[in-house]
């Protein structure tokens, strides 16, 4: 069970008291936490955040079953980003928060100044509007989905009491003060107060997985005074005033009171609270009054907006854009200065230009002219191209059938598309345990009875064939076996439910459920529970045990006992628990007792397999002893002071002189493929940390079974109670590591929440981080959600690496939001983690494909896309600078003004998409089989400052060739046999054509995998430009644009020089690039290239990767340098380790609103249920 569902025992008591005081102050309401069941734990720190000044606000007064004098929020919810009227302003605000859009808007405004713009007035605004339109369409499409989901929720039906009968209305119509009826397996439409239920004592079970990620059922109980409201006429008569605190976000807190006319005030507390988002379970119906609706419900109050995350590449791109902006300014200044010099020499001589009479001709205006001229150095379309590409990449993730989980019908989902490439750079994976690594299914695996290990019957194995069955017949330990199985079937708090002739077991503890089912598997079927007895069907006989006492499980006691009267009248004590607490209580001492030694050995054996163990013992209690003890116990249980301690002491009296029967091994079932996935992640140089709210022993069990820790791996255990202890222990470990500190060692660090608190304090933080990064595996157990987030944060900050958090429950929300990338496990548990996550997958094993395939692909695609976008812009627009040298630094453009504007939007728009969506180096199979291929993207080798400059210089060289080659070619302007001469635009169009061709072909050179889309985009772009010339050259004067282009098609295309150069210039420009690529690929081949090549040639790259020479690369060395420095285990925690080595683990909800002992007393499953 995840953290809140686990047993936060040791931290609970002090905090609980603290919490009660907290809730008291400021509220004049009666404190209803008298039973001490209010759940206040550290969980609140995240699910509820900071207390939001409730004290100042007025208490809410609700008139039940009557119209409210006060207007409350309606029950309609909206999670959409925009509404119809708010779309335009909000959208524009979002868009113009981006610097680049602001920049282009500024350029568009500057263009309005007369005589300043070299490209007319609308050539920036038009593409900008086009691009904003595309963004707007994308936003609308995305928001429409949210609207639809909201609509669907709002239109669900709920039954409401109206004019004396039940009426079905939409959720959105539900109002505060309404009384509604919810039936089994329905969600609560708002925050409700339970008035009555179909179950005995008005108990109701709810599943809160949507709220906190816990799957175990929670109990709620109506106050006895309202439980009478069972039928509709009584309900219709019901008039009461409900007073409660104002809406808040505390999921585990509720205080209120209900005042009926002429009756005493009833206190209301969490026991009566049914939160929106939770679901009614195992309860036929409940009647409840609405207290908080719509956005005032606790669920909605908790739905924090996911923080805006940006990928590292995005951030780097911004710096590059900033750099380009600076270059742009510098270029403009230089150009303006040259213009000034030119003017100084020639203003008076060049009579034909009439410079002295020019307007807006000072240095400042010239600077603006050049700013406009060069503004496209910053790629206008990059943002929107990248956005659309990411959108489709996210779709590819969602459409990947390899990440589709058929059992739960859940495909992967990308909830954000900003982080696609971040998936390719992950260095640390922080994983939750329950529901993430494990399925949250406990499975009875084997048991040891009387020194013999029995496996559970296999799926195709008949019970009669099992060893146990045989031994039960003739083995000397047969009575022990029978007693053991009886104990499994009796000693628990499970409630059976018969549905269609099959028995369903409901349990607050998944372990117990597994045990009962295990017993059933061996033929001891637990059938009925009445308030005072249990019936077990064993070997054809019905055994009837009266349950006299249940001594509940607590983490401190580490055991649980049932005192029962056997059918033959004997009184038996059944006790199960950790070996460390059972063994000392064995009759005859821990060492010498019957079976003790062999069972202990078996326990170690089980633990090594990663199984959870429990030890079972029994004792016969003579009648008179029981009587005496029963009195003592009764006195203890009614004591006013120190009741719990007294009960515990009383329990100690009877749990003694036990006789060991055996032990069980329960498998906390791992999800499919978890060990393999973890092994691959480790090979991909990713560090895997497990952060769990669960107990240390459970966490270590799982780490073992997930192959995160192997038996030879030394464990560093950090369990300290004080700051000093933590400091001492940290420094000792650091010293022991010696020179291997901060290098990766084959060591696992296990730390618990309390020690973590000290270790993360200011003064120890550095040492702790050093220690953490020195260990290959880190397991943090018993950590609260906020601590999970802090750990993630700490690692992100300290190492600067990309972190990924994966979890399934509400307790993982904080960490998911804090990590660079948050992954939610969808399908089984609640939706809260998924809603907070950036990506959701159904199974942990899909993480491998998400990272190694999609992550690596997206990273290389986006990197290439961005670099290419910079490249193509530099390539074209720097030509304007070269032309400025020949055009008197006047800011004259070489190309037609609209062709410049459409360069990014039309003529070179497609290749980036082809790269961004379809390029791939290796096939998914190869990427998964060789996790080492993840390393280049992880280390950010494909996109960094160096690579950026390589591309920029490349673009610069290309622009030089692409300008001067055509210029020399057309220097005399006469390109036709008829002797006519072309003007500046002939040269411009020549250059432009060669640029488009070169740039498109360059995209091809950068593409590793040419699909038909790639072909279409490259050849299509060139063709588009040719078509564009033809069309555009024939518009004027029918349409009054492009006068200079008139007739250009005939002139350009009839020039043989044009065609010959079209062959020559792109080739000449790209040959150096090709040469460098080839030499690089031949002589300095990278690992990725080598693997790619061998894949295409259908060779097995395994040999290549296994080659000893390759393993010596820097990273591989890092990977292999993991060494063991710990010859001996730390002796300080020998005791702890002993227990660990025996694998004890048991989980049960503790401190529930109704204790387990009370719950079982309430049930009589021999009677049919439901009365409504």
């Amino acid at each position: 069970m995840a953290w809140p569902g686990g047993s936060p025992d040791s931290v609970e008591l002090p905090l609980h008291q603290l919490g009660s005081e907290d809730t008291l102050d400021g509220l004049a309401l009666p404190n209803t936490n008298v039973t001490g069941h209010t759940r206040i734990n550290e969980d609140e720190a995240t699910t509820s955040g900071i207390t939001d000044g409730a004290a100042d606000e007025q208490n809410r007064v609700i008139f039940i079953n009557r119209p409210q004098p006060q207007k409350f929020v309606n029950n309609r919810i909206s999670t959409a980003k925009y509404s119809l009227p708010s779309f335009v302003p909000l959208f524009l605000f979002e868009q113009f928060r981006r610097y680049s859009n602001c920049f282009f808007l500024l350029i568009a405004l500057l263009q309005q100044i007369p005589d300043v713009s070299p490209t007319g007035r609308w050539t920036t605004l038009t593409p900008l509007v086009l691009i904003l339109t595309v963004s707007a369409i994308k936003e609308i499409v995305e928001d429409y989905k949210r609207h639809r989901a909201d609509e669907e929720t709002n239109r669900r039906k709920v039954e409401v009491l109206s004019e004396g009968r039940w009426r079905s209305i939409r959720w959105e119509k539900l109002q505060v003060g309404d009384i509604c009826k919810i039936t089994n397996n329905q969600f609560f439409p708002a925050d409700l107060v339970l008035l009555a239920s179909s179950e005995p004592q008005s108990i109701a079970f709810i599943e809160t997985s949507n709220l906190d990620g816990e799957t175990n059922l929670k109990t709620r109980q109506a106050h006895p005074d309202t439980a009478r409201l069972e039928n509709i006429s009584e309900m219709a008569e019901f008039r009461a005033t409900l007073q409660c605190e104002p809406p808040n976000r505390h999921l585990y807190e509720f205080n209120g009171m209900l005042k009926e006319a002429n009756a005493k005030t009833i206190p209301l507390g969490l026991e009566q609270m049914l939160q929106r988002g939770a679901m009614l379970r195992n309860t036929t119906w409940v009647l409840a009054a609405v207290v908080y609706t719509g956005h005032e419900t606790k669920l909605m109050k908790n739905s924090t907006k996911a923080p805006l995350k940006r990928s590292s590449i995005d951030r780097q791109t911004n710096t590059h854009i900033l750099m380009l902006f600076i270059i742009l300014i510098v270029l403009s200044l230089i150009s303006a200065a040259f213009n000034e010099l030119w003017l100084l020499r020639r203003t008076n001589t060049d009579w034909y230009i009439a410079l002295e009479e020019a307007q807006n001709a000072n240095f400042g205006f010239n600077f603006l002219t050049f700013l406009i001229l060069y503004n496209n150095l910053i790629p206008i379309s990059l943002q929107v191209t990248a956005e659309i590409v990411r959108f489709f990449q996210a779709k590819f993730i969602a459409m990947d059938s390899e990440m589709y989980h058929a059992e739960t019908d859940t495909p992967a989902m990308a909830r954000t598309s900003n982080l696609n490439e971040e998936l390719g750079m992950v260095r640390y994976v922080f994983s939750d345990k329950t529901g993430t690594l494990t399925c949250n299914i406990m499975d009875f695996h084997k048991c040891s009875i009387g020194e013999i290990i029995y496996n559970k019957p296999g799926p195709n194995e008949r019970l009669e064939d099992t060893l146990l069955y045989h031994n039960l017949k003739e083995h000397p330990t047969a009575p022990d076996i029978a007693e053991f199985l009886t104990m499994l079937a009796v000693c628990h708090t499970v409630i059976p439910e018969v549905v269609d002739g099959k028995i369903n077991y409901h349990a607050a503890s998944p372990d117990e459920r597994a045990l009962v089912m295990g017993a059933a598997g061996f033929g001891w079927v637990f059938e009925t529970r009445t308030p005072h007895s249990v019936t077990v069907m064993a070997q054809g006989k019905r055994l009837h045990y009266s349950v006299l006492h249940v001594l509940a499980f607590t983490s401190a006691r580490k055991r649980m006992s049932v005192i029962a009267r056997a059918p033959n009248g004997e009184i038996k004590l059944f006790c199960k628990g950790a070996d460390s607490v059972i063994y000392p209580r064995l009759a005859g001492g821990a060492q010498t007792a019957q079976y003790a030694a062999a069972t202990l050995e078996h326990l170690s054996h089980f633990a090594a397999e990663g199984l959870r163990t429990l030890v079972f013992a029994t004792a016969d209690i003579p009648e008179h002893v029981y009587k005496d003890w029963s009195n003592t116990y009764h006195k203890a249980s009614i004591a006013i002071q120190d009741r719990e301690q007294k009960i515990e002491e009383a329990a100690l009296l009877i749990e003694n002189n036990l006789r060991l029967l055996g032990a069980t091994a329960i498998e906390d079932k791992l999800q499919d493929g978890v060990p393999e996935t973890i092994a691959s992640l480790l090979k991909a140089n990713i560090n895997v940390w497990v952060l769990t709210g669960d107990k240390q022993e459970t966490a270590i069990n799982i780490a073992h079974s997930a192959r995160l820790i192997h038996t030879a791996m030394p464990l560093l255990l950090l369990n300290e109670d004080s700051l000093d202890g933590t400091r001492e222990s940290l420094s000792r470990h650091c010293t022991e590591l010696g020179e291997n500190l901060r290098k990766q060692n084959e060591v696992a660090l296990v730390i618990d929440g309390k020690t973590l608190k000290y270790a993360m304090g200011c003064d120890l933080k550095k040492d702790f981080i050093d220690l953490c990064v020195s260990c290959k595996v880190v397991v943090c157990c018993r950590v609260s959600p906020i601590q999970k987030a802090e750990v993630v944060d700490m690692v992100s900050r300290a190492t600067g690496a990309v972190t990924l958090a994966i979890g399934d429950g509400a307790n993982d929300v904080a960490m998911i939001q804090r990590a660079s990338v948050g992954i939610g496990i969808s399908g089984v548990e609640g939706l809260q983690a998924v809603c907070a996550s950036d990506y959701s997958i159904a199974q942990f094993r899909f993480l491998l494909r998400l990272l190694l395939v999609h992550g690596a692909w997206n990273y290389s695609r986006i990197s290439k896309l961005i670099l290419y976008s910079f490249y193509k812009n530099i390539c074209l627009y720097v030509i304007e600078l070269w032309f400025a040298i020949y055009s008197a630094w006047s800011g004259q453009i070489l190309f037609e003004r609209w062709t410049i504007g459409f360069y990014n939007v039309i003529f070179t728009a497609l290749p980036p998409f082809a790269i961004g969506l379809f390029d791939k180096i290796c096939s998914p199979e190869i990427m998964i089989r060789h996790p080492v291929l993840y390393v280049p993207s992880q280390q950010g080798l494909l996109f960094n400052v160096r690579v950026f400059w390589v591309w920029a210089v490349n673009a610069l060289l290309h622009s030089v060739l692409l300008f001067w080659l055509p210029m020399l070619l057309a220097s005399h302007h006469v390109l036709w046999p008829n002797g006519k001469d072309g003007g500046y635009l002939v040269l411009g169009n020549l250059v432009y054509t060669y640029v488009v061709a070169t740039v498109c072909l360059k995209a091809g050179l950068a593409t590793h995998s040419w699909t038909w889309v790639t072909h279409v985009s490259i050849w299509g772009s060139i063709a588009l430009w040719i078509i564009f010339i033809v069309v555009y050259s024939n518009l004027y004067p029918a349409i009054l644009i492009g006068a200079v282009m008139r007739g250009m098609d005939r002139m350009v295309f009839t020039s043989l020089v044009f065609w010959f150069a079209l062959l020559l210039i792109p080739a000449a420009t790209l040959i150096p690039d090709l040469l460098i690529t080839v030499v690089h690929n031949s002589a300095f081949k990278t690992m990725t290239e080598a693997v790619r090549e061998s894949e295409i040639k259908k060779r097995d790259p395994a040999a290549l990767l296994a080659h000893p020479r390759h393993s010596l690369t820097e990273t591989a060395r890092l990977l292999q340098n993991v060494r063991s420095v710990f010859g001996r285990r730390s002796t300080t925690r020998a005791n702890m380790e002993l227990e660990l080595s025996h694998g004890f683990a048991f989980s049960q909800e503790e401190g529930a609103s109704v204790s387990q002992a009370d719950v079982i007393r309430a049930y009589d499953t021999s009677q049919p249920r439901g009365r409504c």
């Binding site: 059938s401 019908d409 939706l831 008829n978 001469d981 500046y984 040419w1010 007739g1047 080598a1090």
Partner: protein, 363 residues
């Protein structure tokens, strides 16, 4: 949000993604391997193809005959030691200046022969110059308010009245106005080389972009004045040929298509090969260039040239394309050889043709 689409989706159809090759990113793809071994044939092919093409282009360029005469500083005809350049400067272009230059064509100019004038250090590509025109006016849409782009050559005083200029703008204002004639000094007899002043502009310009207003040109332009630097109004540009007059005058049209570079040439006249003695081109021999020198360029250190040229399929004389082809072709051959060496050495070093060494980076 959290509560939506949980129960209601249960009976909807499966959410299993479609198995199409596109959606699963399994589109068939061509995956080129760019290594020395695979690419070197390309280099050889380019090299072998480009060199002959380049030689062919060079041949074409070489076929073109061209004679360039710089007449910037030609001497005034009836004066001693006065260049026309200084003369027109001193007289502020009030008086005409004639000059003559004798030259010799050393070989026959066969085929169509074209006369160009060339200017250098002349920034026809200056931003303020390029935009200083009114295309709408040139379409024949005469309005009394020419485009503001024409400033400061939009209005001028005529007879004390301010009138709009037609054609307006700096380009039209600076129309090249030297008159160039070539005489053949055959047998001591000066024969003027017959020329055509039409067919020198782009047909699209002549037919579409430049239109005269309807009706009689003189009346149409009555409310307009000539550009300040002009000697005669626009309707007098070619009084002999109505087709070549007004905005549709081809000298004007050629001039209006601004040049890309500060050194440029523009087509001036075509030799009329229908005339006797010039049917095959210009024969070699002595010629005289007669210049009506009006256009000032010396202020900004410009030059004026007169160019006689034939053309090839590729246009004027320019060996650059051919040279470029030969150079690129040769480079490709050389690189091909280099790649061959790399290929041989790299494939020798490992049997698997993969050269990964301890320093091999991951990417």
């Amino acid at each position: 949000m959290a509560t939506s689409s949980d129960t209601s989706d249960q009976n909807v159809k499966s959410r299993r993604p479609a198995e199409s090759a596109f959606k699963q990113q399994r589109l068939p793809a061509w995956q080129p391997i760019l290594t020395a071994g695979t690419v070197l044939p390309t280099f050889f092919v380019i090299g072998i193809a480009f060199i002959p093409v380049g030689i062919g282009l060079l041949y074409f360029s070489d076929e073109v005959k061209e004679h360039v005469i710089d007449y910037t500083h030609c001497m005034k005809e009836d004066a001693v030691n006065v260049t026309c350049a200084t003369f027109i400067k001193e007289t502020k272009m009030e008086e005409p200046c004639m000059c003559q230059i004798n030259f010799n064509l050393t070989e026959d100019f066969k085929g169509d022969v074209y006369f160009y004038y060339g200017l250098s250090n002349y920034y026809q590509n200056h931003r303020r110059y390029v935009k200083s025109r009114d295309d709408s006016q040139l379409l024949g849409h005469l309005t009394l308010t020419p485009s503001s782009d024409c400033d400061p050559f939009a209005y001028a005083d005529e007879d004390g009245k301010q009138k709009p200029i037609a054609p307006c703008g700096a380009i039209a204002n600076s129309l090249f106005n030297d008159t160039l004639r070539v005489y053949s000094q055959d047998l001591n007899k000066m024969v003027e080389v017959p020329v055509l002043n039409t067919g020198i502009a782009w047909t699209s310009d002549k037919d579409i972009k430049f239109r005269n207003p309807a009706g009689d040109l003189k009346t149409a332009f009555a409310n307009f004045t000539k550009p300040v630097n002009w000697r005669k109004p626009v309707w007098m540009l070619d009084p002999n040929n109505t087709e070549n007059n007004g905005f549709q005058n081809e000298d004007l049209i050629v001039w209006m298509r601004t040049a890309a570079l500060p050194t440029f040439r523009k087509l001036y006249r075509r030799v009329d090969h229908t005339q006797v003695g010039f049917s095959v081109g210009l024969a070699k021999g002595p010629y005289t260039l007669q210049v009506d020198y009006n256009y000032p360029v010396t202020d900004f250190d410009g030059t004026k040239t007169f160019i006689i040229s034939t053309t090839s399929l590729l246009g004027g004389k320019n060996p650059f394309l051919g040279v470029a082809y030969v150079v690129v072709g040769t480079l490709c051959l050389l690189l091909g050889i280099v790649l061959l060496v790399i290929h041989v050495r790299c494939s020798k070093s490992t049997t698997e043709m993969i050269n990964v060494n301890p320093r091999t980076p991951y990417s």
